[in-house]
Amino acid sequence: MNRPCLIEATDIGVTFGTRQVLEHVSVKVHEGEVVTLIGPNGAGKTTLVRIMLGLVKPQRGRVQRRDGLRIGYMPQKLHIEPTLPITVRRFLELARHAGKTPIDEVLEEVRIAHLLDRQMRAISGGEMQRVLLARALTQSPQLLVLDEPAQGVDISGQAELYELINEIRTRHHCGVLMISHDLHLVMARTDEVICLNHHICCHGRPEQVSIDPSYLALFGRKEAESLAIYTHRHNHHHDLTGHVVESRHD
């Protein structure tokens, strides 16, 4: 990929106590590229993302960002103190540099204008994810970092949410680094899959990873098949500029 690199983590190593959480992990996200982290629970995916965001310091390795990189972060879930009354509008206004991208524009993009005056504690899981996405967009991000964006969203909402994320990525040309378990929904739009289990088991384009023995060992053949089927069926969606691309299998 010849596009410029947005963020690069090199040879990351982390131990919590005696437990080795990450070992020799390197990840790169380029402009406009979608990188998806997959792996079993406790594999260190969230830790890796938090390191790349600068929230956790790794014991080994380093993270380099492009100068002035603007990141929009969507955390896994948001806990709001019950003692803290706050409306969706106020929550969005709290974002730093909130003035840069008009809130109205962001609201329209994620379609939550009707939620503005609701209390943050009174909205549903799916609505909350959209609000978090809106908050990330207030940063006019060049890189979107999403930690299981569809968590707590019902099945029909999940596809819609990923569609929305894809729309946003296309419109803003931003890179995406995401953790997701919803392989069948995200693989078609993913450029690079990284299969993580403390170390990088395998990585590459979805169709390559799906036949990788270490991937099969981790996820089993059934999941792997669904991955292969979906990536094949949606191959033509891959191009970022909107052109339909030839299927890479032919």
Partner: protein, 266 residues
């Protein structure tokens, strides 16, 4: 009414106003035990002030800021759970303070005054201290309100967005330490955190935004101070406890009102 009651009212209203604003953060950030610890450790500050023969108000402020800084540092290296750490510091500094006071027989200190406060003996100098502290706190709060709120709602989001989280946290803690140090004489070591917590908790019942809650807490605090002083004037009750009892009364009334209306504000 005589001068002393007017001075008491002025001091009390100023403190209640600032306590409402800062207390809301104490409630949102679950720092009530933190406030307690600072209050208890201030007795050590008084003891050291007497021992070293320096201005007591200065000694109080210096020691509160010092302890706040120490707590911040200790909290960061997480080797002991925060509540345990606070418990150890809170009680050992209190014990050290009492010990030093008992051993230094040169000066007799009115301990009860510091433990329970004495609103009715507030001097003009005290009022100046409180006024200076209130002005400073208001300016800092106005300047950094959004930042304080952002790190309170979601620290990590704020950090990713480039907010100087650690600096704001330290600033907020220092403001709280300052408030505790200057208002110690008014409500006393044992009751100071009540003024930080009860009015915001009461205001929560009616508020829809953080600002409504913070300003509401200030108003409720002022009502409690006025009612407490009236109580003290009419029935000769101790002023500090009367203020806290009044605040508690407002809290109970608002809880009742809320449950009668159904959970609207939630």
């Amino acid at each position: 009414m005589t001068d002393f009651i007017l001075r008491a009212l002025a001091a009390g209203l100023l403190i209640a106003t600032i306590s409402g604003l800062l207390g809301s953060f104490v409630v949102w950030r679950r720092m009530s035990y933190f406030g307690d610890t600072l209050a208890h450790s201030s007795l050590l500050g008084i003891a050291l002030g007497i021992l070293l023969d320096i201005n007591l108000q200065l000694a109080l402020i210096a020691s509160a800021l010092l302890f706040a800084g120490m707590l911040l540092l200790l909290q960061r290296n997480k080797s002991v759970a925060t509540d345990t750490l606070l418990g150890i510091l809170s009680h050992s500094t209190l014990a050290f303070g009492l010990l030093i006071l008992a051993l230094s027989d040169t000066v007799q200190v009115n301990l009860t005054g510091y433990l329970f406060g004495d609103l009715l003996t507030v001097s003009n100098t005290d009022i100046l201290w409180i006024l200076a502290c209130s002005v400073l706190t208001s300016i800092v709060l106005l300047a950094f309100w959004n930042g304080f709120l952002a790190i309170t709602v979601h620290e990590e989001l704020a950090r990713v967005e480039g907010v100087a989280v650690e600096r704001l946290k330290a600033l907020l803690v220092m403001l709280i330490a300052l408030l505790i140090a200057v208002s110690m004489k008014i409500v006393g070591v044992l009751l100071i955190t009540a003024l930080l917590i009860i009015p915001p908790a009461a205001a929560r019942k009616l508020a829809h935004t953080p600002e409504q809650m913070a300003l509401g807490a200030s108003v409720i605090g002022c009502v409690a101070v006025s009612a407490g002083l009236l109580m003290s004037w009419e029935w000769d009750t101790p002023a500090g406890p009367s203020v806290v009892v009044s605040a508690c009364g407002v809290f109970l009334v608002l809880t009742l009102v809320q449950s009668l209306r159904g959970d609207e504000a939630q």
